[in-house]
């Protein structure tokens, strides 16, 4: 009976069994010391033997331990927030920063900054004057509480974990003050409960250990080798049986980024629907980004708060002469388009102003000027930039999916038909709703609302028929549908994330753990 089991034992299991010759009950920590190899292989062997009912696991007493969180490790490298505040104040002496400016420059919320200001005030490091201006006294050192906190962080980071019973009451207080929640995102320390585990052999295990002789160990063959094959010895030896249900070690594989996966799938859908892909420069002129789209040069969306302007050079050297003069006259009095125009003097120099592309529609304008196929369908997955504060729902650097459809018989029902197709193909939507909307370059304009299987009603995009003031100056006489889709929210559902910034994540382990986008 024992011999049958012995035949299946892995060398790691035999090694682990051997550790029970001296003592019948051993703690995990002791086993780790005796093991002298990778801790992961010990844990594997333990699991195997428990699985085979050879080893017993018992839980010992609980112990509270503290560890440094990832944020804590990061803080060790970059310095405590208090130190950053101190340094910033010191480096900007005389400027009398306001609390708002200070918070903004360090990207801190008021709740984060509040206690630090309180502490500094208490130590007479700073006084708050009118309008929240901070006056800083550079002669005083950073408060000793901050130093203590740092020392403690360093001390605990040197250990895998640190039992809280060894902490002084003062240290405990510090840890309590910076571990808001257990393992909360911004806390430096994490408090856990550690339970020491003990192992002993089952009755079966004890019998097995007695039966296990050195000879047994030798007679069994693990991996098949070339030597066994060549010499023909494989006919004589006995192969150890493997437990094929045991978990195998993890491998790291080369992978496409999940967000890229999502974008590629979207691209394939557009190709399947007969769309050609457009591309163009990230640095654009106001001309292609806005003027050519009949957005008047005094339009509020063109002001400094939406568009990023290039510092140097400020202007493009040239723009295509025929297009710019036609666009200019169309803005002024409608030109040949039958429109009355915006009625202002067009500023040619402003057209040349360099900016960062703010909408994929700039590529559509370029495609129209190049002379599109009729019928023709175009799309772009275009990187765009907007003057926006980056937070959980906003990126200032993002992908936009936009395009056009050109044909002689384009009309409003076909525009709706196209949107209906997008809703089904790109959002798996069962229901759609078309709502009036406003874009400066389309008339009629429509917003596409869809019922997403997981999210319910959401706005998927906007579209319309380009105004003749856009198409005619660029040399296109037939109607053109322009559309733009916001797929980031759908991407976030597909990737199972809640913070839009995570589309551009830097987190390698998160990336390794994400599943394939379906």
């Amino acid at each position: 009976m024992e011999q049958n089991i012995i035949d299946t034992l892995h060398p790691l299991e035999i090694k682990l069994l051997d550790l029970f010759r001296e003592a019948s009950r051993v703690s995990e920590a002791e086993l780790l010391t005796l093991w002298k190899e990778e801790p992961s292989s010990l844990r594997t062997a333990i699991q195997w033997l428990i699985h085979k009912n050879i080893l017993n696991e018992e839980k010992g007493t609980e112990e509270e331990i503290v560890t440094v969180t990832e944020t804590g490790m990061q803080t060790l490298k970059e310095g405590l927030i208090e130190e950053k505040v101190y340094l910033t104040l010191k480096n900007s002496q005389g400027k009398n920063l306001t609390l708002k400016e200070l918070a903004f420059s360090l990207n801190l919320t008021a709740e984060e900054l509040g206690p630090i200001i309180g502490l500094f005030k208490q130590h007479n490091l700073i006084t708050i004057e009118r309008e929240g201006k901070i006056s800083f006294s550079s002669l005083l050192p950073i408060p000793k509480e901050v130093e203590e906190k740092k020392k403690l962080l360093q001390e605990i980071s040197r250990h895998n974990y640190y039992p809280t019973k060894y902490l002084t009451s003062k240290q405990r207080e510090i840890i309590k003050s910076v571990s808001r929640k257990r393992g909360g995102k911004k806390s430096l320390f994490k408090i856990d409960t550690l339970i020491e585990k003990y192992y002993s052999l089952t009755r079966e295990g004890e019998l097995l250990l007695k039966a296990l002789s050195t000879a047994d160990k030798m007679a069994l063959v693990g991996p098949l080798t070339s030597e066994l094959l060549e010499s023909g010895k494989w006919r004589e030896v006995k192969f150890r049986e493997y437990n094929i249900n045991l978990p195998a070690p993890k491998v790291i594989i080369g992978r496409k980024n999940p967000y890229r996966d999502f974008l590629e799938k979207t691209r394939k859908k557009f190709l399947a629907m007969g769309f050609q892909e457009m591309e163009g420069p990230l640095v654009e002129t106001e001309f292609w980004n806005m003027d050519a789209l009949f957005m008047p040069q005094f339009h509020s969306a063109r002001q400094i708060h939406d568009i990023y302007y290039v510092k140097s050079p400020k202007y493009a050297r040239k723009l295509p002469e025929t297009f710019i003069s036609k666009v200019a006259i169309t803005h002024k009095n409608g030109g040949e388009t039958g429109s009355r125009g915006w009625g202002y003097e067009f500023d040619m120099k402003k057209s040349h102003r360099l900016i960062l592309r703010s909408q994929g529609t700039a590529l559509s304008a370029r495609a129209l000027a190049k002379g599109p196929d009729i019928p023709g369908k175009y799309f772009a997955i275009a990187r765009c930039f907007r003057y926006d504060k980056v937070d959980i729902t906003h990126n200032c650097d993002f992908y936009q999916i936009e395009g056009i459809v050109v044909d002689t018989d384009i009309n409003f029902p076909k525009l709706l038909g196209l949107l209906d197709l997008f809703a089904r193909e790109l959002a798996s939507a069962s229901e759609v709703k078309f709502v009036p909307d406003y874009f400066p370059f389309t008339e009629p304009s429509v917003a596409l609302h869809v019922k997403h299987p997981q999210m319910g009603w959401m706005e998927l995009g906007g579209a319309g028929i380009f105004r003749p003031e856009v198409t005619i100056p660029l040399g296109v006489e037939v109607p053109v549908i322009a559309w733009g889709l916001g797929l980031d929210r759908i991407a976030m559902i597909a990737l199972d994330i809640f913070d839009i910034r995570e589309l551009f994540t830097h987190n390698l382990s998160q990336l390794r753990n994400r599943k394939v986008v379906k």
Partner: protein, 567 residues
Amino acid sequence: MPTISCNIKDLCLLLPSSLSLEELKYALEKAKAEIKEYLEETGEIKIEIADTNRPDLWSPEGLARQIRGAYFKEPLVEYKFFNEKPVGEIKVHPNLKDIRPYIGAFLVENLVISEDILLSLIQTQEKLADNFGRKRETIAIGIYNAKKITFPLSYTGVEPLKTRFIPLEFTEALTLEEILKIHPKGKEYGHLVKDSPVYPVIIDSRENILSFPPIINSASAGKVKVGDDYLFVEVTGKDLRAVHLTINILACNLADRGGEIKPLAIIYPEKVVTPQPITDTIKLNINYLNKILGENLSSEEIKFHLNQMGHKIVEEKDGVFICQSPPYRMDCMHEVDLIEDFAIARGYDTFTPKPLTKFTLGRISPFVEESLVIRDIMIGMGFEEFITYILNSRENLFTKMNIPGGEAIEIENIMSERYAILRPLILPSLLEIESKNAKVEYPHKIFELGEVVEVDSKENYGCKTTLHLGALLAYPKATFSELQSYLQALFYYYAGEKLILEPANFSFLIPGRTGEIILSKQKVGFIGEVHPAVLTNWGIIVPTVAFEIDIRKVKKSYEDGRIKKAV
């Protein structure tokens, strides 16, 4: 986009019958407006209006007007006061010609100002002056208790140092110059008049200064209270059409509230009566409307729905309507604007979507196609892909990379230093990733295929957008030769060429362990072990090797090479 607040009850008072919240949501869609917030206890709502070209909609009165037409299907009535005789005069002095030359004004009788009306009036005044008036530059609005004013008025330029009056929120008289220095509104809007030789004021026949536009009203006449029932409203500005449009919007809004509007004459010295019935006259071709909407509509049907949007059809001949847009709108530039109005009034839900049926060819862009091939090879070699921001900081792109005075396209109006520059290289993004993943199991083999922007003074835009592949290998035993093996494989499979490296120097790589990558005699990239000084800057504690290549250059080189081989 403008957002306004109002009370749902107040809004419903302006409608033929009360609407539930759900009905109101649907009705507001026809005004391109959306409820953003709703407080059930008080009935307060916040409404966002998408149409930046329709200032007439930025008030409860304007939204209600649109809903009366497009939702309740009422033809919008013409306002009679546009044809009435003026009841008073304002003389405009020629010395304002280059400063703020235009004014429009009217009186409102028999309207008792309630709290809702007052709040709505103040809000409309702010939205119009801030948003449509570009922070009072093109137009500014003043509203007064007309009982304290005696006509005729004059709008004239006066000397800033010699003229004084008591502005709103003050108890003592200040000179105009002092107002700019001391009064909060003077500080905020002073730049609009500061450099003018004279400052504009409105003075009544008893020599009382009513206002110093576009800065502040007087404390005596320029304060409207709940219970007042006789108002004077004026708009000043630099653009005559904008002044008239604003006056018309305000007059129609107050008329909708039940006020009687009494026009005033402006003497420039030529006489202009305001509110002024300005309009856009548009020719609407019925065939064109039917073509764009895919319909076959009768002229009666078209007329019916256009009337709901306030358009007047003054003539119909040979299938063409001559339409006049309402005097409170200025967004009708082309017949397509009327076509959309028709479609909204009839309802987008009355159109049946039709599929696009013609065959078109789908085609991928050449560089995306290229990147698909490269991505497959990189993944086959076990690399993990990242997508990062193209915008980055000077600190990350240059300081930490030991590239003093590095060149790149920078943003002039940055919001945050973190997103200030278009990256010229991908490597800093990869090092940033590496610096944040020290705890993740090694080895790290990562790459990004993405756009970068290179400064190039020969280019029309002074720069060019290109596609780069950056790859990085980091773990305790990472070496040049290991990464070189991958690069070699990439070149073999992708470019079909042998890898040729030329010794080179880059400030961020270890000298003697750095090569420039040569393809068809062209430099297309670099490979090397990252310099310890740079690793230290990033806080990276394992050896790191990296390469970066310009895919556009590689593609061009191997295509040229193939052509040569073929010849």
